[in-house]
Amino acid sequence: MDIVYIAVNIIVFLAFAPLFEGIVRKLTAKVQSRQGPPVIQPYYDIIKLLGKENFVVENWAFKLAPLMSFAAILSVICFVPLGYKSNFLTQYADVITIIYLLTMGGVSILLGALSSRNTFAMMGASREMVTMIMVEPVLAMTFFVGAVKVKSLGIDTTIFSVMNTGYSWSVVLMLVLYLMALQAFVGKQPFDIAEAEQEILEGPFIEYSGPNYALFKYSMMLKQMFYASLFVMVFVPFLYTGTYGLDVVIQLCEIALVYVLIALVGSTNPRLRIDQAVRYYAVLIVMALGAVGLSVYGI
């Protein structure tokens, strides 16, 4: 039975991630008085890229990086308790594993960028590194706020901690901080400094083409959906009906609302510079530590 949950996880994420990305693009276009691409455009993009010629740089790191990134995010998806049902893989890992796997996804981007020895890719990689280092702690604190309360690091107990113990000040503070860092997690304005920075630098993916690039794009989309779903699972647990299928559908709708927020914030902000972003993240880290501190005292 649990294997079905894993399969449903994977299928739902793989199927819906491009759709939500399409929603973001469509909404951005409407805010800009344009019609925008059709909502299923990202599917077309990925299919088109898969059919293109694959130019590679002749070293193993370049070819390995997209596969590693895709594998990392897919593994994270398998652990995630979508629909409030944990599957049997969930007990074999804890939140630290999730953080490590996400970091591995980021490292694979760096690996791919640095192995191409392109000046622009190196600049993009350095920015990606800085972003990763600064944003990781906020994600970790999101888990720890729950972990401290339930005194365990298991994935399902941590994520369902709010559902079980209710809202407290630390949870509310963490919710606000997560929303403020959400744009950085998903890599949209004002924090899309490293990825997809087509105006200033071409970013870490400049040398990638064809199927490799499709894998990177897909992992970006999956990562985006993961962060949105994490928000929904951790902080919005009150629409719990008990039926698995219905829960999944409700969660997907909530994820869509989170995406609407991402799109609106993304379309009304310019891109920040890396040093300004670092200052912003530093403030977030300090406040996140404060939230964990509050949670330790049971507030």
């Binding site: 409407k30 805010v31 800009q32 008085s33 344009r34 019609q35 009304t268």
Partner: protein, 181 residues
């Protein structure tokens, strides 16, 4: 203040809405004075050659084939749709239409040529001189000009001359190899 700016930016779009037109199926109406492709009315044209003299792009050519036959060719490949030809035509034979969708894969689709039977003057056998308002345009007629219809070229006397010896000398030219050279 920061948040209100953001909200205003999103609400800015409500009044105009989506402004994209579904182009080939919905077109914007063309205004009256629009300068599209020029059209010659051959019944009014008297073959004065004023349009050919004033075209800045040298895309109207005129040539007398024989004593009584004058050919005017509009080779639309370089036309900039400026409308000077329509301005100077004394018979108002040229109108700037409203056609702007002129893309084609054969350049000859843009050509228009007229063959005019000219009345000859009893004394000199040629057609009349055109009248222009402006001295600058009258000055245009000075200087030799030959319109070659086959080559679609307009050859005009210039004040330049070039020494072919100079070109030969530069077959071994010096490439700059150091900074500051």
């Amino acid at each position: 203040m920061w948040l209100t700016s953001k909200i205003k930016q999103v609400l800015m779009v409500i009044k105009p809405g989506v402004v994209t037109l579904n182009y080939p199926f919905e077109k914007r109406p063309v205004p009256e004075n629009f300068r599209g492709a020029p059209y010659w009315d051959h019944e009014k044209c008297v073959g004065c050659g004023g349009c050919a003299n004033h075209c800045p792009a040298r895309t109207i050519l005129v040539r007398d084939i024989c004593q009584e036959l004058r050919v005017m060719v509009y080779d639309g490949s370089r036309c900039t749709y400026c409308g000077r030809c329509a301005d100077v035509c004394p018979e108002n034979a040229i109108t700037m239409t409203d056609r702007y969708e002129l893309a084609t894969d054969d350049r000859r689709d843009l050509n228009e040529s007229m063959e005019l039977f000219m009345l000859t003057c009893q004394r000199c056998g040629r057609c009349y001189d055109m009248e222009n308002k402006n001295m600058i345009d009258r000055m245009d007629l000075q200087g030799y000009r030959y319109d070659n219809l086959e080559a679609r070229a307009f050859i005009r006397k210039t004040t330049d001359s070039f020494d072919p010896e100079m070109l030969k000398k530069t077959a071994e030219y010096k490439r700059p190899s150091k900074i500051g050279e």
